[in-house]
């Protein structure tokens, strides 16, 4: 459990914001795909903590980034954080995406909406290993495509929007790159229907696929058993055995 200081709260547009949190002490080691549980406050509507993915960690500046979409009361309250506020977090939680050892691996990272959040940190870790990946990012319209500049620092960026306001028109799974290129591993995070479509594509190409699930959670550290998903091993906790799963383990 850690108290972090809000260094900056960047409103990206009226739906999304980026919290940059700092710490006087060294941040613990965190892996891409892991998440934090943020305490909002004690108001009746925001009783439990909110699970949020690790968007990026800058160890030099001792900064943790959280990219958040405003959904309800909890995320709305977080969006009003001011510089200097303290946030109480449990971190880091959950497992992480597999980092291949082979530098020649052809990797595709597919994100939809705010589901792109963990992919930025994953891309940065892959680059550290010498792997330049492809990012395929989708949104309803151009306002739902976030951090494109940051992504382009770590890999090649491809985009789709449902309304055609940016990139190719359609869903991520309609993007031309999928017909032109063959990958060794596909990672995905976003709305479940999107991840299922990506998993189906990967299966059709005999490609390994890892997805990150967003089940509702009460604790985030394996104590309540509220967050389970069905798997080949029966019900497993998304917060401890996930949030990242190989789709062969899920019954997808």
């Amino acid at each position: 459990m850690l108290d972090l200081i809000v260094k900056e709260n960047k409103q990206l547009n009226n739906q999304y914001f980026l919290l940059i949190l700092g710490s006087p002490d060294e941040l613990p080691e965190m892996y891409p795909g892991q998440f934090v549980e943020v305490r909002v406050d004690n108001s009746p509507e925001t009783f439990l903590r909110r699970p949020i993915s690790i968007n990026f960690v800058d160890y030099k500046r001792n900064e943790l980034w959280l990219l958040i979409q405003i959904i309800g009361e909890g995320t709305r309250k977080l969006s009003t954080c001011k510089q200097g506020d303290l946030l109480n977090l449990l971190l880091p939680l959950g497992n992480s995406y597999t980092i291949p050892t082979n530098e020649d691996s052809k990797l595709l990272l597919v994100g939809g909406g705010v589901g792109i959040a963990p992919l930025l940190y994953l891309g940065s870790k892959l680059k550290e290993k010498g792997i330049i990946c492809d990012f395929l990012l989708g949104g309803r319209s151009k306002y739902n495509l976030l951090q494109l500049e940051e992504f382009s620092n770590f890999g090649n960026v491809f985009t789709t929007t449902e309304d055609g306001t940016y990139g190719e028109k359609g869903f991520v799974t309609n993007h031309s790159i999928l017909t032109n290129k063959k990958y060794d591993l596909i990672y995905s995070c976003g709305p479940t229907p999107m991840m299922k479509a990506v998993a189906a594509y990967a299966k059709s190409k005999n490609t390994e696929c890892e997805v990150s699930l967003e089940n509702t959670m009460a604790c985030g550290f394996g104590a309540c058993l509220c967050c389970v998903t069905d798997s080949v091993d029966g019900h497993v906790c998304v917060c401890t055995e996930g949030p990242v799963f190989n789709t062969s383990k899920l019954k997808w």
Binding site: M1, R39, P44, E45, F47, L48, R49, L90, N215, T216, M217, A218, C219, G220, F221, G222, A223, C224, L225, C226, C227, V228, T229, D230, G234, H235
Partner: protein, 303 residues
């Protein structure tokens, strides 16, 4: 130095702060956050004769100052507990109770028998109050007849502390408490969760896969306090109070109402170190009011 020791039937706890079943895993989940040897006792996850997958997802809904759960006693069964989990937790320096549930009386009997031989388990908490399983569970705890029957049969095979956990989903809780006391319960814990429901209006569907679930958290505290007070006034055996305890003041209210110990449930999810804070808060309170022992405030409500 204030004396924090409390006696629960056959067992003495180093202090009255326990953690509630289903909210504290097997204790191991909290080892990174707190020193388990500081708390008075741990009640581990609900254990059944055979392994259970529990209910389908979604199993949780957040509600104002509380949550509904429908976990449905997911666990790997008592065999697995005895062979794989017990060895990893037996050296915790705190009293470990196993919460036992069943669909039939035989389930309760066999499970309790298997736990009887575990040296480091001083007692079981008989869960006759789980609202999240179709068969058994709460059904046993909602009538005096079936509640008495379970306790009577388990008493025959289980020699150590039997703590019976009552359901709040009854008309007269004191009546059930008296019935289980008469059959040899060493202590009585309450409350389990209150049956509730949440609806997603936009989608016109229930939030939980099971439609109804168990409500816990501060939202249930006034009901829990009332029931603890009623039961403590009715029975002679010690009472363990729980339901919505978030801090030391909440815990002290339960002690004043007549509880000899308290259990903390849902609050652990929000602050995994809360049990230690509650313990320290109780100690402060006793010092501030010049009590030399926590026993001085048990049932000390002035009415």
């Amino acid at each position: 130095m204030v004396d924090l020791k409390v006696k629960l039937g056959q067992v003495e706890l180093k202090n009255p702060v326990m953690t509630a079943s289903g909210t504290f895993g097997y204790g191991t989940e909290y080892q990174d956050f707190i020193d388990l040897s500081r708390i008075g006792g741990i009640v581990v996850k609900g254990t059944t004769l055979r392994s259970r997958q529990g209910n389908a997802y979604p199993r949780m809904a957040e509600t104002p100052l509380g949550m509904l759960n429908a976990v449905g006693l997911q666990n790997k069964g008592v065999d697995y507990f005895v062979n794989n989990i017990y060895p990893t937790i037996k050296d915790f320096e705190t009293a470990i109770f196993v919460n036992v549930s069943g669909s039939t009386i035989d389930d309760y009997i066999i499970t309790a028998e298997m736990l009887n031989d575990l040296d480091r388990i001083p007692g079981i908490e008989l869960n006759i109050s789980c609202p999240n399983v179709k068969e058994g569970g709460m059904a046993f705890g909602t009538s005096c007849l079936s509640a008495s029957q379970v306790v009577r049969e388990v008493r025959k095979v289980y020699k150590k502390e039997i703590m019976v956990k009552l359901s709040p989903n009854v008309t007269d809780i004191a009546e059930i408490a008296l019935a289980v006391e008469a059959e040899g319960a060493d202590s009585i814990s309450l409350i389990n969760t209150i049956l509730g429901m949440a609806i997603n209006a936009e989608k016109r569907i229930p939030v939980l896969s099971t439609i109804t679930g168990g409500l816990s958290g501060p939202a249930v505290k006034p009901v829990a306090l009332r029931m603890v007070w009623q039961v403590a006034n009715a029975v002679k055996v010690p009472v363990i109070g729980m339901g919505g305890i978030m801090n030391a003041t909440d815990a002290i209210e339960f002690l004043l109402a007549g509880a000899s110990a308290i259990q903390i449930g849902t609050a652990n999810f929000i602050d995994p170190t809360v049990s230690i804070k509650v313990l320290e808060g109780i100690e402060d309170y006793l010092k501030r009011h010049n009590f030399s022992s926590v026993n001085d405030i048990i049932g000390a409500l002035e009415v």
